[in-house]
């Protein structure tokens, strides 16, 4: 069975490219446009990995990370956070919240695929 990844980012085009890349590599991809949307879509189904932007409207990535760790079904789901060089402070806050996997934006699709493969293979 294909592994399921959820991408959480407010940019539709970024989600599309990530989705094309990961689907092409054999993963199943779910999309959400921000933390709140993602939480609404997390209804107990098995998610093997989440990729979340940090800077998003409604619910930013750090709040999302904290909220998702409270859900028993996703307490231990690996999460890759997307950040920019300008986001050092965010990164610190995120690390304090337990986010260890970071990918710096902008990135090429294949770089993200490599990062994902280290945590789960399709």
């Amino acid at each position: 069975m294909a592994k399921t990844i959820m991408i959480i980012d407010d940019s539709a085009s970024l989600r599309q490219v990530v989705s094309i890349t990961l689907t092409g590599a054999g993963y199943e991809v779910l999309e959400a446009c921000d933390g709140r949307d993602a939480l609404a879509k997390l209804t107990g189904q098995k998610i093997h990995l989440m990729i979340s932007d940090v800077n998003m409207p409604n619910m930013d990535g750090i709040s999302f990370l904290k909220a998702v760790r409270e859900l028993p079904a996703y307490k231990f789901t690996p999460i890759i956070m997307l950040t920019t060089e300008a986001g050092e402070e965010m990164k610190k806050a995120g690390q304090a919240a337990g986010a260890k996997a970071w990918v710096v934006k902008p990135f090429k699709p294949e770089l993200l695929l490599t990062a994902v493969s280290k945590l789960i293979l399709p």
């Binding site: 709040s63 999460i79 610190k92 690390q95 260890k100 902008p106 490599t114």
Partner: protein, 723 residues
């Protein structure tokens, strides 16, 4: 979908973001506007990187850096800078337009203009700008032909994983699987000496260490990067093929395990010969003796400093977002459909789901794998059709919210109370049938807030509040429900007055037994009204009890949060749709019940988790929860089975266990209204027909949780098993 389509999405998205940015630039005072601008540039940069649009990335990066300084407050957003950012905005728009025309690189004039703008941005940057970050690219690695015939060209990787990596979702197994894609693992020794015995063992902690020999052609950096996500907490040491003996010996010295044990591992991996080892360990003992220590140093371990960084909360620029969304709306083609047609479709889909479940059940009883496969495909399609049909009925709540702008202004004027209405979460979607039934209760609550909540201007001034009152409507999704909040900054509910009135009306016998929340909830009792003077707006005989009934009918709940002198928030929590739910089926004796799946947290055996039978409490890994037995709630006859199961459910912030005989798995179901017979039974929310044709009862989880929490087990109607 392909990349070209995604690029089109990017172009549309970039235009929208730039429109939003322009709007913010024209009213740049608020921090929200600055945030919106930052995010616009940030998002464009991030997405442009994915398409390899380096000129856009480069330009946006510098603008973003400047905006970041404005956002952080270290740079004043004076008119000069606003004008410059406006020019940058126009330049980005020009870049996107050229991209739209198929010119990825950009025209020479545009490039020159960009350079000029970058030069003007320079003084606003903190230091010399970081070199415009090109998108990080994966380095491709060429093979090294000269290493070919060597029979031991192995890298040695020594790793002691950090204790928390498992909790963070990182499994050493994944890294091993990934390493296998880079080359072949010729030797691997797991080290589990750190695994403690007895009660000290923490099953969620990682105690694993690995000594790995990897035969690969990739470069050191690539191997190092395999562990990039665990690098900070783990001890990692990577030794290239054919390194000097000293390097291996150093490794042995620095690791906590016994020297000879590690030595043997290295010998086995052909990194060292037995002779090397013997000689080296001899020298080492000598040295250790001389300087008096063999204590290992930590290897390249980076200690994370837990600095107290306040979580930089980025306020959402929702109104701007909404506008951007509305603009997209113009380009989308819309077909109007009569609402009844849509309802009929959803009804039919409901029947289809049941028929599908029946077919599935029958197919599973047979042995023909082709039939099974066909029904599985059918099932997936039915599910998609269901989601699509339901999404047709989903509407944004924004329109309902917007209607209140006029009402708030008019009513406020009539009462001489200037009030500002703030709308958030307008794009939140919910089922049309719910929206329709929501306008009345919402209207009532909003009017109540204006009428009784928000004080007159004089009172507000006397209390040191701004003369203009504030009312906000907010909607968002939360764990399978939609939450709608109506909040005012008025006087809050006066508990003494509520209590006095309730006593006067005979609604309360023993006031001393009530908690604050109980008192607040009295406003939902039939025949309760606190208005000192009945205005011509509210007080038309419709009380909060009607609001509560309306919400009950929608399978929702109401919470009140009130602070005397500071305001009141009413929170409606509603299901996303009324028609179809994903359910979890359980059984007691020969009756089936369905629990909405989004409320199920986990299922356990009752035995090991039982805390107190007498008080009906379970202990869920330290959390003590109340439970109730369905067989007691519905007074089912029959003997309690030896092995009882408990389903842990959650609604809002409350959790409880529901004890049943059997767990029967997930399935999808259409909610049918309850017949007259059951309507008055507490704990039931509806019924459904199973694939087998049998009837199952859908549990009203919020009610059951309430029941478990308050321990009021006396249920009115007598009910034995349901046939």
């Amino acid at each position: 979908m392909d990349l070209d389509q995604a690029k089109q999405t990017f172009i549309i998205e970039a235009h929208e973001l730039l429109d939003a940015m322009e709007e913010s630039l024209l009213a740049p005072e608020s921090s929200e506007a600055v945030n919106a601008m930052f995010r616009a540039v940030h998002t464009i940069k991030g997405s442009a990187g994915l398409f390899g649009l380096d000129p856009i990335v480069r330009f946006a990066h510098t603008v973003e850096s400047v905006m970041d300084r404005v956002r952080a407050g270290s740079l004043a957003f004076d008119p000069d800078l606003v004008n410059l950012i406006l020019a940058c905005h126009d330049h980005l728009a020009q870049q996107i337009s050229e991209l739209q025309e198929g010119d990825d690189a950009g025209s020479p004039e545009t490039i020159a203009e960009g350079d000029a703008l970058l030069a003007r941005l320079l003084p606003y940057l903190e230091t010399v700008p970081r070199p415009a970050a090109p998108p990080t690219t994966l380095v491709t690695h060429e093979s090294h032909p000269h290493e070919e015939e060597d029979d031991q060209p192995c890298w040695h990787i020594s790793i002691r994983f950090g204790p928390d990596i498992l909790r963070q979702g990182m499994d050493p197994l994944s890294f091993l699987r990934y390493l296998q894609t880079l080359g072949s693992i010729t030797h691997l020794t797991p080290l589990l000496d750190r695994l403690p015995a007895g009660p000290d063992f923490d099953p969620e902690r990682c105690y694993l260490g690995l000594e790995i020999d990897l035969d690969t052609k990739v470069e050191r950096q690539v191997i190092e990067d395999v562990f990039e996500f665990v690098r900070e907490d783990s001890q990692i040491r990577i030794i290239p093929p054919r390194s000097k003996v000293e390097e291996y010996i150093q490794l042995i010295r620095e690791l906590p395990e016994g020297d000879h044990y590690l030595g043997e591992i290295l010998v086995k991996g052909k990194c060292l010969t037995p002779k090397d080892l013997e000689e080296a360990l001899g020298t080492q003992r000598q040295e250790a003796f001389e300087d008096g220590t063999v204590q290992g140093r930590m290897l390249g371990t980076i200690v994370i400093q837990d600095q107290a960084v306040p979580p930089a909360v980025v306020a959402a620029a929702l109104d701007k977002q909404k506008k951007a969304k509305e603009k997209t709306g113009h380009e989308v083609k819309v077909v109007k459909v009569q609402a009844e047609k849509l309802d009929r479709l959803v009804d039919l889909v409901g029947e289809l789901v049941i028929a599908g479940a029946t077919a599935n059940t029958l197919a599973a009883q047979g042995t023909d794998s082709r039939v099974l496969e066909a029904t599985a495909i059918l099932g997936k399609l039915v599910e998609e059709i269901r989601d699509n049909a339901l999404s047709l009925r989903m509407v944004q709540i924004g329109e309902t919210f917007s209607r209140f702008r006029r009402i708030v202004r008019d009513v406020g004027q009539e009462l001489g109370k200037p009030i500002e209405l703030e709308i958030r979460g307008a794009e939140t979607e919910l089922d049309k049938s719910i929206v329709e039934k929501l306008s009345d209760p919402l209207m009532h609550v909003v009017r109540n807030s204006i009428d009784h909540g928000i004080e007159s201007q004089e009172v507000r001034r006397a209390r040191g509040k701004p003369a203009t009152g504030s009312l906000s409507l907010n909607a968002f999704h939360e764990s399978g429900s939609i939450v709608i909040e109506v909040a005012d900054d008025g006087g809050g509910l006066n508990k003494q007055r509520i209590l006095a009135k309730a006593v006067e009306r005979g609604l309360v016998q023993d006031p001393s037994s009530l908690t604050d929340q109980d008192i607040t909830n009295l406003i939902f009792e039939p025949g309760f009204s606190t208005a000192d003077a009945v205005s011509n707006l509210s007080g038309r005989g419709v009380g909060m009890d009607v609001v509560k009934r309306n919400i009950d009918e929608l399978r929702g709940t109401i919470e009140v949060e009130t602070y005397e002198g500071a305001g009141t928030t009413l929170r409606f929590r509603l299901p996303l749709t009324l028609a179809i739910i994903d359910g979890f089926r359980v059984g007691v004796e020969d009756t089936f019940y369905v629990i909405p799946l989004d409320m199920v947290i986990e299922c356990l055996d009752l035995g090991p988790f039982l805390e107190s039978e007498q008080n009906h409490l379970i202990n869920l890994r330290g959390e003590v929860l109340p439970f109730l037995r369905l067989r007691e709630v519905f007074e089912t006859r029959g003997a309690v089975p030896a092995r009882e199961r408990v389903v842990v459910v959650q609604f809002g912030e409350l959790r409880a266990g529901i004890v049943v005989d059997r767990l029967m798995g997930e399935f999808q179901t259409v909610i049918k209204p309850l017949g007259e017979l059951f309507r008055s039974v507490k704990g039931l929310g509806g019924s459904t027909i199973l694939g087998s044709g049998e009837v199952a009862l859908i549990l009203d989880v919020p009610q059951l949780i309430q029941l478990a929490v308050t321990r009021k087990h006396a249920l009115q109607p007598r009910l034995s098993t349901v046939s």
